[in-house]
């Protein structure tokens, strides 16, 4: 017996609206389809009407988890357009926040993976320790989620000695806890039984379907924009690209945990080698007509912005490709021939950020093409009128 199960647009496993339609036979998925578009905000269109500075805060709001990724990607592109050279100290702080964000995103993901696998204790523990990173970010930038630290030409806030000491102290706690999670995540029998072999993506498929980030690296492809196309100060910082060979959800977990340790090393290096000097330079209001492709390794994978300027103080075109969109094609591949029980895990394993992947349409009433506010009473009347003539359908088919 084949039937279709809808996962989403509203579903407890999904934190954001997306629709996954699964055709299942018993417990086994035969076909999967992804339907996007529930979370569109018309950002690319909107960006064409805002100034360079305003767009920093617009791109920051593409996503709540990797907010720094999008601003950095945007800002370093605009700096190229304006031919600015941000000071070293500013770049160091920018990189520091980026790595802290990666730590917080990966800890968040570990918790979500635990929750999707029904391992709520793991979820509670990792999210408790995520608070440490959130606190550090609040100390550095003043905010926990949207840091607002990037500006064109550098960063907006400086670090002092006390803050550096505090971060280094917290880092040792995080290292110790991450060791524990590494042990737990790869040794707890019931957890490993759920992760190992699930959502297999071969190396060839991962490459062909243009997967990015930890999903790609877990299939054994060492692609990391930080190494391949170094931006900010990554050409000075020693670190390794973490990969796994298994290509399943366990591999993606291992990659993320390994990356956590790399992040701690990078943060330590950045803090110990922080150069002195100013943190930002003044930026002009306009940019000459030009274009730039800016790449950035977000916690979820490669983030790419294409920015085109036309000589005014507004961009001609801002194209945003968030990592999640790049992983959807691979997700469909992974879902096929899996179990229903593995859907949330496989889907969560790409660390989906739906609001990242969808950003491009304006708010328009779907039916008429015009936005309209309907008074509540009208709505009630309308619904009564629509339903009055209907015959109660007892034997109606299930609407899916």
């Amino acid at each position: 017996m084949k039937f279709q199960i809808p996962i989403g647009p509203q579903h407890p496993a999904l934190k954001e609206p997306i629709s996954l339609r699964m055709t299942v036979e018993g417990e086994i998925i035969r076909d999967a389809d992804i339907r996007l578009g529930y979370n569109h905000r018309g950002l690319e269109k909107l960006a064409e009407q805002k100034t360079w500075i305003q767009n920093i805060y617009l791109t920051e709001r593409i996503c709540g988890i990797c907010s720094h990724s999008h601003t950095t990607c945007y800002v370093q592109g605009v700096e190229k357009l304006m031919e600015l050279e941000p000071p070293k100290r500013g770049l160091y702080i920018r990189t520091l926040v980026a790595e802290l964000e990666r730590v917080h995103s990966h800890l968040l993901w570990l918790g979500v993976a635990g929750h999707e696998a029904g391992f709520d204790s793991f979820f509670m523990y990792t999210w408790r320790d995520r608070e440490i990173v959130m606190d550090i970010l609040e100390i550095i930038t003043g905010n926990r989620v949207h840091y607002g630290i990037n500006t064109i030409g550098g960063v907006r806030r400086d670090l002092d000695e006390q803050q550096i000491k505090h971060i280094l102290d917290s880092l040792s706690v995080l290292r110790q806890r991450s060791e524990y999670y590494k042990h737990l995540g790869t040794n707890e029998p019931s957890f490993v039984a759920r992760l190992a072999g699930v959502g297999y993506l071969s190396r060839e498929d991962a490459i062909a379907l243009c997967a990015v980030g930890p999903t790609l690296r877990a299939s054994g492809v060492p692609m990391d924009v930080r190494k391949d196309d170094p931006y900010a100060v990554y050409d000075e910082v020693p670190f390794e690209v973490c990969t796994a060979e298994t290509g399943d959800v366990l591999g993606r977990t291992v990659v993320r945990i390994k990356e956590l340790f790399q992040c701690y090393n990078i943060i330590e290096y950045l803090l110990k080698n922080l150069p002195s000097g100013p943190v930002a330079v003044r930026a002009p209001r306009r940019a000459k007509p030009n274009e730039v492709v800016s790449r950035y390794e977000a916690p979820r994978g490669e983030n790419i912005h294409y920015i085109k300027s036309n000589g005014t103080d507004k961009p001609e075109r801002l194209k945003v490709r968030a990592p999640t969109l790049g992983n959807y094609a691979a997700t469909i591949k992974m879902l096929k021939n899996g179990f229903i029980a593995d859907v949330p895990l496989i889907f969560a394993a790409i660390d989906p950020c739906i609001c990242c992947a969808e950003r491009a349409v304006s708010l328009v009433d779907a039916r008429t093409g015009q936005e309209k506010i309907i008074v509540m009473n009208d709505l009630k009347r309308l619904s009564r009128r629509l339903s009055a003539g209907n015959i109660r359908k007892r034997e109606a088919e299930w609407p899916l």
């Binding site: 039937f3 407890p12 709520d120 793991f122 707890e188 019931s190 039984a193 949330p344 299930w398």
Partner: protein, 323 residues
């Protein structure tokens, strides 16, 4: 006088009122323990230490809107929670909660009540299945199918594990089994393996992590209970708590020597021993992640069932030695 006594048994102790209060307490205990194991606080505000939280939840659910899906079988859909609750409360009456003598260890006691109790504990599973099936919701249907699939896994090992102490005690009567192990406490060590197996199977029967597959909310929303709301959901939740008490009571009777010492001391014994069993259940819940339904069945048949048979063999050998 006898009628009044029976009424007291049925309504106050060990019947409705006691089971209601104790199962809400057990829910609090389980939630608090689970929360502390996860580095959280758990219920705190309603009543002292949040003790009244489960009762508050129960009454809150009772006052919520009660929706029956259009396509569901209305009669069956509404009857199931009440029937399930009645079954579990009946099972409670079979537990030998006070032991003045073997003549009158509980409200009802007869030779073979162990089998009846196991049977009554199997019925809620079918209630869950019917609840899922009669909802006609896609998620409920999958949940219902998962309930039955799991049943094929854990039921046989549970029966084998619970019956082997009975074989050693040479009785099918709960009170006599308990009395046997009270007289020879060393012999209950023989059943250690069976106790562990029974704990795991009871965890599966109660559908708690790692076996909370039928209502895994990240996969199939509410599973069997997706369409249930209001009073019916409240009754189902109460039923699951009461089932936990009865199942813990069964394990305590069979493996831990029952509840000696008359009405009062028996009550204290009952509470302590069931809480010990529930402590283990909560510990399993906090330290594992949910496994897949096919993994449950293969785990049950590859490991639990052979081990349960091994336990039975040990019991038969020991029985030959001591006789």
């Amino acid at each position: 006088m006898a009628t009044v006594k029976t009424l007291i048994y049925l309504v106050i102790y060990p019947g409705l009122l006691f089971l209601f209060l104790y199962s809400t307490f057990v829910e609090w205990y389980d939630r608090k323990l689970y929360a502390r194991l996860q580095n959280r606080m758990g219920p705190r505000h309603t009543g002292r230490f949040g003790l009244l939280q489960p009762i508050a939840d129960f009454f809150k659910l009772m006052s919520k809107e009660d929706i029956v899906p259009d396509r569901a079988d209305r009669k069956m859909f509404s009857a199931l929670p009440a029937v399930g609750l009645a079954i579990v409360f009946t099972a409670m009456l079979l537990l030998p909660v006070w032991n003045y003598s073997l003549d009158r260890p509980s409200v009802i006691s007869f030779n073979g009540d162990l089998i009846v109790l196991l049977y009554l504990l199997s019925l809620p599973t079918f209630i869950f299945f019917l609840a899922g099936w009669s909802s006609t919701n896609l998620f409920s249907t999958i949940g219902g199918a998962r309930v039955l699939t799991m049943l094929f896994g854990y039921e046989v090992p549970l029966f084998l594990a619970v019956l082997s102490p009975a074989v050693l005690a040479n009785s099918w009567r709960l009170a006599e089994i308990a009395a046997f192990y009270r007289q020879r406490p060393a012999l209950s060590l023989v059943n250690l393996l069976g106790f562990v197996i029974a704990l795991i199977c009871v965890q599966a029967k109660l559908e708690r992590t790692p076996f909370d597959i039928p209502h895994a909310e990240t996969e199939i929303v509410g599973g069997t209970f997706t369409e249930y709301s209001g009073k019916k959901l409240a009754l189902f939740r109460l039923m699951m708590d009461a089932e936990m008490v009865v199942a813990a009571g069964l394990l305590a009777t069979v493996f831990l020597g029952g509840f000696p010492g008359g009405a009062l001391l028996g009550l204290v014994n009952f509470i302590i021993k069931t809480l010990v069993v529930i402590f283990f259940l909560s510990l399993i819940r906090a330290t594992t992640s949910r496994i897949r339904v096919d993994q449950v069945v293969s785990f049950a048949w590859k490991y639990l069932a052979p081990l349960a048979i091994l336990q039975l063999l040990i019991v038969i050998l020991v029985k030959g030695l001591i006789s």
